[in-house]
Amino acid sequence: MGKTLLKKVWDLHAVRALPTGQTQLFIGLHLIHEVTTPQAFDMLRARGVGVAFPDRTFATTDHIIPTLDQARPFQDALAEEMLSALERNCAEYDIPFWNLDSERQGIVHVIGPELGLTQPGMTVACGDSHTSTHGALGAVAFGIGTSQVRDVLASQSLAFDPLKVRRIAVNGELARGVFAKDVVLEIIHRLGVKGGVGYAYEYGGTALDRMSIEERLTVCNMSIEGGARIGYVNPDETTFDYLRGRPFSPSGDAFDRAVSWWRSVASDADADYDDVVEIAASEIEPRVTWGINPGQSVGVSGRIPSTGAAGADGAVAEALDFMGLTEGAPIRGTKIDVAFVGSCTNSRLSDLREAARVAKGQRVAPHVKALVVPGSRAVLAAAEQEGLHQVFLDAGFEWRAAGCSMCLAMNPDKLDGQQVCASSSNRNFKGRQGSPTGRTLLMSPAMVAAAALAGEVTDVRDVLG
């Protein structure tokens, strides 16, 4: 019986069996940002422990930074204090930090792959649940809490319990107007928001094989929304092509040696899975969430569920009450106030291209505030090079500096009151976008752009003609 990628990477990184029965796992790449680390560094200081491998940790800033006026000190004194703490900590412990003045700054899960830091066969940890994103390159990547950030800083390792592996095979062709975002929303809808607890998700099948790395990043990003702490795609030619020539990728002969090792960490053809799920790509429609968790979504031609329908429980009523939506009504036509293209799910160049394709030559509806926020400085520069920013500006979208922005609103970009936001981000939890009563509809970037123009949820397939 063959082995899965997870098993191979696990065995390679296992330091030892701990007295508790957990495994001490070596962490190959540690990424940090301003929100979940200040307490970790303070704990290190309090214990008189240093950073074990400062060259395996890399820092950026993304969550709290304004996307409009980035002059220091920030107007928000708390945000300023957090960024200053990261600056001090990185300086004190010699950790490379791509701050606001760096061309490499951006959302942590956008820059890791983009810089070639994330590679197949690595273990990647970061104090952020969407670390699952990095699995798109065939890494074993997972989010951790602040005490675990402390542990990685101190020991470059973590205490970890083993996970099962579920292979999710999406086979066939995606229809026009259906994107990676719709695939992962469908998966979470089918398997549930806690379906992945205890599992790593291995995504495969012909639809995944055909996807670009950027599309795979979108799928892996939302693994955690399905309860799976880890999601990955086996490395293949697409992965190797993507990594060639990136700043932290191996170069010259080392690249060829790397490719043959990367090939060897992919799951064996006869690997043993704990569970297998198959999904036909042709059944997937553009999707929109109607509720307060990412599993509560429906195809754009579908209807908002009824509280009395089979399988509906109190959760449907609670969600509809919060969202102010009418049960049984079509989701299409739901009025929106704000449109947000951005976040570590969908803020890469290909996402912006898809949104721009929809927006080109059109106008944002007068009552809608629309924002495009690239995931990194590099994405921003590449988009401007292609003139995408002009397409957005001409259509009435705002074009902002790179950061997390309205995905979680720990910065000035927030919903107001009960505003409804069409968002390309990953969470529609109550209060997620900064207003306790704000409402979020998750969808693909192209669908967000289409909603911005129409002023309501609309089917991007009609717009694309």
Binding site: A14, T36, A254, M410, F429
Partner: protein, 196 residues
């Protein structure tokens, strides 16, 4: 080494609902701080604002130590602020139908046990608290039991996690640094660190 955690005692607090996410436990705006101090005051702040008789606001439960929850509690973000806020509010153990993985791991790392019970048991336990908020619960990890009024139910907790609480290695730093040469050994054999 941190303290050993075995026996926890006190009144309960019933928090009904599945999939209660960490954005609800502690809204993101309270993460804008460089310490965990003061988080206890903001536990479920927006939910409490929206619901006047939210269990965390209910005077009857202000002495609670044991939090009772339903399915998939703590889903969403990896913010350790969520268990930190609960602990600072006064919670010293969580008993639920199931927990998200990261939340459970974060709770372990700060010495806050999360144990599971069946749907039927959680219903019964919540009813006990609602009927008698002063009822005292005793959780004994070594026995895997939760006792109230002389009746015990068995609770679920992985062996490794239980051992970590019982031996005081839930704060893992010391244990991870115990044999640092082995860590260096792994670093030197990993192809991407050796330069392929």
């Amino acid at each position: 080494m941190s303290t050993c955690v075995d026996r926890l005692e006190g009144p309960g607090l019933p928090l009904r609902g599945d999939n209660i996410d960490t954005d609800r436990i502690i809204p993101a705006r309270f993460l804008k701080a460089v310490t965990f101090d003061g988080l206890g005051d903001h536990v479920f702040e927006d939910d409490r604002e929206a619901l006047a008789d939210h269990p965390f606001s209910n005077p009857a439960y202000q002495q609670a130590h044991v939090l009772f929850t339903n399915d998939n509690f703590g889903s969403g973000s990896s913010r350790e602020h969520a268990p930190q806020a609960l602990k600072r509010w006064g919670i010293s153990a969580c008993v639920g139908e199931s927990f998200s993985e990261i939340f459970r791991g974060n709770s372990l790392a700060i010495g806050l046990p999360c144990v599971t019970v069946s749907h039927e048991d959680i219903e019964r336990l919540m009813s006990v608290v609602e009927a008698t908020p002063s009822a005292r619960f005793t959780l004994v990890l070594s026995d895997r039991t939760l006792t109230v009024d002389g009746t015990s139910v068995s609770v679920g907790i992985e062996d490794s996690v239980r051992d970590a609480f019982l031996t005081g290695t839930w704060d893992a730093t010391g244990m991870l640094l115990d044999d640092f040469d082995v860590v260096r050994g792994v670093a030197s054999r990993v192809p991407y660190i050796r330069g392929f």
